[in-house]
């Protein structure tokens, strides 16, 4: 069974061409600028709650056997520590929809057999087969390496282009296990010291990238640009060095997601960064672009597709 918290049915941002993107559950890094904190838990996302859509009807309070929900003084309070994710509150909520994040309450993680999932996404994969394919993202997709491999093999059997996004910080076995069935890699080269400029993990990243490098068509680096965290020369220098060491020539600069705080609010997970101060200025963005270009790397971003 594979666990995922979302499917992007048609995106052009995560790999070459049109991609179906599977966002797999679980991440060991928990980057403070992550905009999907609900992906962190290895098993499933916490209960998401959209206060704006709640009518305070109290149905969830009655339905929940664990006493997770409280309504008092016009407020709906949730104690997620008691939540067993049984979904009863969603079933009774008049503004919630099972298997959808659109409603007041939701449990986004789905557990499904690889075959069943493949059947579900196969029509869309077939439609864009000529110019696109599948991307496994996350979370950290390869934390579910067996399931990921099973799925990737099905795709390869049917001639569907495959792409995996990874931080390349997992043990090498994770990469060994799928290297023969991945066409493209998105190397999310995040700063594993989270802004502390600690380079000790870089060798691991370089080693892992080298495991897959000879087996795929191309590796694209992705550089998260977070103000005061990854905008200094020392960070840029470090990433350029990793790219040079691994022969990666293309980098995509990802500015801090302007909706970064959304899922922290919905999931009740504390956000360690302040969104407003994390978004890089245009100057910082230009500087990063120029820096990579000066190192003869090809920069791709929305302003320069």
């Amino acid at each position: 069974m594979i666990r995922l918290f979302n499917i992007g049915w048609h995106t052009k941002e995560d790999g070459p061409g049109n991609r179906v993107v599977l966002y797999l559950q679980g991440c060991h890094l928990r980057c403070p600028w992550c905009h999907s904190p609900h992906s962190w838990d290895m098993k499933s996302a916490p209960l998401l709650f959209q206060a704006k859509k709640c009518t305070l009807c109290g149905q969830c309070v009655k339905a929940c056997p664990q006493g997770v929900h409280h309504i008092a003084h016009g407020q709906h309070l949730i104690d997620r520590s008691k939540c067993t994710k049984c979904g009863k509150c969603i079933t009774v909520c008049p503004n919630s929809i099972e298997n959808s994040m659109d409603g007041t309450l939701s449990l986004p993680t789905t557990e499904i057999s690889v075959k069943e999932l493949y059947t579900k996404i196969k029509p869309q994969l077939d439609m864009f087969k000529r110019n696109g394919g599948i991307t496994l993202s996350g979370g950290e997709a390869l934390l579910q390496k067996e399931e990921a491999r099973e799925l990737l093999l099905l795709c390869k059997r049917d001639g569907i282009s495959t792409c995996v996004e990874s931080s390349f910080t997992l043990p090498p076995q994770a990469y060994e296990s799928v290297k023969d069935c991945v066409d493209f890699w998105l190397a999310g080269l995040r700063d594993t010291s989270f802004g502390q400029a600690n380079f000790r993990n870089d060798d691991i990243i370089i080693r892992n990238i080298k495991v897959v490098a000879g087996h795929c068509q191309k590796i694209f680096a992705r550089y998260p640009l977070i103000a005061s965290r990854t905008t200094e020369d020392i960070h840029l220098e470090r990433f350029a060095s990793i790219m040079e060491a691994t022969g990666i020539t293309d980098v995509e600069i990802l500015r801090c997601n302007p909706s970064m705080e959304l899922f922290y609010t919905l999931s009740g997970i504390p956000c360690k960064l302040e969104q407003a101060s994390s978004i890089p200025s245009d100057r910082q963005f230009q500087k990063a672009c120029e820096f990579f270009k000066s190192r003869n790397l090809t920069v791709k971003n929305k302003e320069n597709p």
Binding site: I7, W9, H10, K12, I97, K120, I121, P123
Partner: protein, 904 residues
Amino acid sequence: MTEFIPSTNRVKKLLSSLKDRALTDRSGEWFCEDDFKKSQKIAFKENGIKNDKAYFEKPVIVRKAIAIDTMLHSMTDPEVSKHTHTYEIEDGELIVGVMPMASNGLGKVFPNYLSEEEKRAASYTNKTELSILGHNTVNYDKLLSKGILGIIKEANHKLKEAQKEYKDFQKKHPAFYRHISKMVTISIMQNSENVQLTAKHNELVTKCDFYKSVSISCKAVSKYMERFSDLANKEWKKTSDKTRKAELHEIATICNKLTSQKPKTFHEALQCVYFFHLAMHASMNLISLGRLDQSLYSFYKKDYENCRNDQSKQAFRAKATELFECFIIKCAGRLNLTTEFLVEQDHMDNNAALGVHPYYLDQRAGVNNFLQNIIIGGLTPSGNDAENDMTHLILNAFANVNLSTPGIYVRMGDYTSQELRESVAKCLHQTKNLPGILNDNVLVPAIHEVLDKYETSEKGHKKVKKLANDYCVDGCWEPILNGECDWTFQMISCLNMFQCAINQGAVLDTNDGMLRGSKVSFRSAQVHTYKEFQASFKKYMQFFIDQAAFTMYACYTMDEFVTPSPLFSAVLGQCMERGRDKSWGGTGMNIAGVILTGVPDTINIIAAFKKFVFDKQMYDIEEVKTAMVHNFKVPLKTDFERQELWNQIKNDFDYNCAKFGDASNEIKEIGNFVLNSLVEIVDKSKEFSEKVFLDSLKGESPEYTNQIRRLRQIAGYSGSCFKRRFGKDFCLRFTAGCGTFGQYPQQGLGVVATTNRGLNDPLIANFSPAPGTIKNGLANVFKTFSQLPMNKMSAGAITDLCINESGIDAADVQSIVDAFISNNGCMMTLALGKVKVFQRMYELSKDLLYGSEDQKEIARKELPNYRDIVVRVGGWQAPFISMNLDQQANYIARFVSTPDTKEN
């Protein structure tokens, strides 16, 4: 891929002029009764009619032909043209002639040709002169190969033959003619020995009337051409510009030439098609232009091959593209781009174009529906790929001009070349809505199967194979035989069948005075299981389809006397060979479509009932019906417990069950049940209606004869069998399909809440998923089609999709179209747009109608900026800003997410 040639300045100017005109008040351009007075006198004189009395003594078909002549005269009356602008040549035009104002939504104006008594009698069946259906196409190959004079000659020759035969017959049967002084049809003398003679007499009289009418109406077209030649000459004299002078000279020459010769060049052929199309529309037959890439190709090819070198060939191709673009602009001449002046233009009456009930359609939705389509690509009659250079040229012209009318469809299938696939995708990407897609993989076999049932000989089988390969669509999307058939159809509400099945023959009604609901059918037992529901649903389907089948047969008993179409019949099917108007069964092929409306809504509500009412038994059927009637809002606001239950039902119905387009097994099962039942029941209704109306009773037992006569009487018909009336080959070939056309807001009115829609909300457009329910990617919608018997939908089933355009390129569009074809989708329209832009247009449209004066002023200024945005309404394309607010809101809700949706 063939590169698209850009539009010339001439075309850009003409296009801009048309759109500017379309933003003004066009109510003054409509014809009125007084406009016909002078022209009628001329037409009477030219056709030897002394006065009104003499006119109304003529058979209806002859009167209609003279009325066509009157109409075409009026259109070229300089005085009348001062307000109708129908006798003008705009600067830069290369194709000339002006269609009078009319549309499917606004109605038509035509000289009266029915007597007062005929009108009074017609009030019983709601037939008027406007009851003409259109929805068809002409055999343009025939027109182009003979020319208008060729058809007149043919009609005159056949008229002479028929008159001679009549005289011979008269001489042979002097006793029979002792009491018949005039050459008019007479009543069949049932118990007389003269039955056969009467029938033969009537046949010959009808034939003579028919050929006379064809001749009169075609001569009217010829005279119209001549008058435009005169006008071009006048303009030539006035113009000093040398280039324009030469163009006007050529126009005058072509118009004149077409009166006496068949067209020889591409320009002549195109002008000929336009003149005839115009005359058809002026005589109220709003019809399709058919497979123009096939009809025009030989003319194009000849001119192209006559070019001396590559350079001149290239120049000719550019010129031909420009000509075609001018042709499109002419066809779109009646466009209305503002909704401000529609009431003033409402010329609709109580006409029943389908059946005998007034034709209540969503008029605003049909304002710019002129029922004119062009169909390209597809197969040749012999089954080869029909793609040619004209296919690409027409696509190129539409990509440049991108008007909402005429519509364009491309027939595609497994055989379609990569080049055409790419061009279609490019055109769709560029225009964001054109062309519509017809899938030959399913439509050709579907049509063939229906036609082949009636054939017994090898020759017959071959003939219908050719006809199926050569199919096209009418002015909406219903498949018809290209210039070979008469076509009528009935729309039946599938949701009514569902409601009757769960509510003992009554549709749920918010008026509690109706007790359990409006009684539209027989009462049956309450259903308790899904199996019982299915059985009940099929019985009601039979009930409504029997009604439809009988109605379509019944129309043939009256149409000849109200809406004969001699001009149309001159180039349609076998009418000329048989000497019969299309309304008198002349075509040789008569197609009758049974089209279910609201099928996706019905499939969705059945899925909800099956899961929660029948299988899981979570909700009581009576409680659910009551909730639906009350729009899921309890009448007593303090009844919180009941409201909670209704909320839960609504939530489950809307979100927790399978939906049309999700490729689930539930939808596969229910969809197959509904569509297979439709096909099976249409067949049964066909057999029954044939038994009642069609077959001769000669040689049958007295018991059987009495039984059939009784059935005919019950059905309101007491005449002889249709095979005697309309010829031994006459029969209605029934086709089945699904669609709601542009009526989805109107057809939702009065319908209780169902899944994903509230009380009175619009139904789902045609054969598409409900707005907002495409959760698993577009491809799973297409997979749904692969699970359904689409190759039995001989009357078509069209899916209208709209997707966010951001991030979508032409290659993506091609992938979408290819997936649709390979998954056995039947017909598809695709619109690309940005939600925010559509929302802005909606706000402005609303302000224009209901805002303050300041808001109206802003709307007037800003709305024209969006005049090029064209979308699919249901059966046709429409400029978004010309649509009504319901339609606009419904459209906005339909967008399917694509890359970069958030940025929209």
